[in-house]
């Protein structure tokens, strides 16, 4: 299966999406990420029972914070798929890439550039 997905996506592997803390998400934006999405197993299919459900809650927390501070909560998303579903993984990557292109770059980067100019 030689599937293509956008090359601007950096994959960070974690043992379970339940490992992803709201701080990981926020720090990614602080460091200039334009978007962050979590890809977890299907709901009900977590090997640790509820890791992906916890991840979804953290995505919601991060979204709320990013909306409040004017970065845009839509930049964070949660996806679920079966771990063998490569085509869906590629589809989500493309969808996320399109969504972020629509929103434009992380406004912090723009603010920094403006200041430097």
């Amino acid at each position: 299966m030689r599937l293509q997905y956008p090359t601007n996506i950096k994959v960070v592997r974690v043992p379970c999406t339940g490992k992803v803390d709201v701080l990981y998400i926020l720090h990614s934006f602080e460091k200039g990420a334009d978007g962050v999405y979590l890809v977890g197993c299907l709901e009900g299919g977590c090997h640790y029972n509820s890791g992906n459900l916890k991840a979804r809650k953290r995505v919601e927390q991060a979204r709320k914070i990013l909306d409040t501070i004017g970065i845009g909560g839509e930049r964070v998303r949660m996806y679920n798929l079966s771990s063998s579903d490569g085509p869906l993984f590629a589809k989500y990557a493309t969808e996320m890439d399109e969504k972020i292109r629509e929103m434009g770059p992380n406004p912090i980067k723009l603010a920094k550039k403006k200041k430097a100019a």
Binding site: D21, V22, L23, L26, I65, L66, T68, I69, A111, K115
Partner: protein, 225 residues
């Protein structure tokens, strides 16, 4: 424990407008357990504020420290050598910690980062409920271990009142019904086969130890030095 809830970030941003050097100060005790003001919440708030100010094109330095407690001198002393460098400290401790901090350090503005709510228990993650109002004269021995001061809307000592219907109080929290504290007490005494104790009238309580008498003190001569 003391239960607190996070303040909205918008409110904290309002306090901090125009500040350049900010310390977010957490506490490792109650507010950590109720996930309102521990190391994690310090990190989240600091990160959110950094991004907010960067996005506004402002250069604001935001540091993070979490102390073991903010209601004891020895732990607050740990930041004495650095506190002067900040023009604002947001304390995520309960109201006690915020005040102790403000009493000790006068050179810096201290702002509260949480809303301190009550003395309560963790029923489950994300759900905390009130259990005690620190009345200073505990009467749990006679009420089956259920506190009428905090669980009865009218703080009745000989309840229930006429507003108790099918186990629910006539007072509601918005649309949400609350259990009648006195029905809980009666049910508990019955389950313990101690219903006869319910017949004994509770004498007039000495409320001078309650909040109405102004700020309170506990003095222990056996411990004082």
């Amino acid at each position: 424990m003391i239960v607190a809830d996070k303040k909205p970030i918008e409110e904290i941003i309002e306090y901090l407008k125009g500040k350049q050097n900010i310390l977010i100060l957490g506490c490792n005790e109650c507010v950590t357990v109720c996930e309102a003001g521990g190391k994690k919440e310090v990190g989240v708030l600091a990160s959110a504020l950094r991004m907010y100010f960067q996005n506004q094109g402002e250069d604001v330095k935001i540091d993070e420290v979490t102390l073991e407690r903010q209601c004891d001198h020895e732990y607050l002393e740990e930041i004495r050598d650095r506190v002067d460098q900040y023009d604002a400290v947001v304390s995520l401790a309960c109201g006690v910690g915020v005040q102790f901090m403000a009493e000790k350090y006068h050179s810096t503005h201290i702002y509260p980062g949480v809303n301190t709510c009550f003395l309560g228990a963790t029923e489950e993650r994300g759900l905390w409920t009130e259990r005690c109002q620190a009345c200073g004269q505990c009467i749990l021995a006679t009420t089956g271990g259920i506190c009428p001061v905090s669980r009865c809307a009218k703080r009745l000592l000989n309840g229930p009142c006429g507003g108790s219907t099918t186990g629910k109080c006539e007072v509601k929290k918005g649309d949400e019904e609350i259990d009648c504290g006195w029905q809980l007490i009666v049910d508990r005494l019955q389950a313990l086969d101690r219903l006869d104790e319910y017949e004994t009238l509770c004498p007039v309580k000495d409320w001078s130890t309650d909040r109405a008498g102004g700020p309170r003190k506990v003095i222990r001569e056996d411990l004082k030095q």
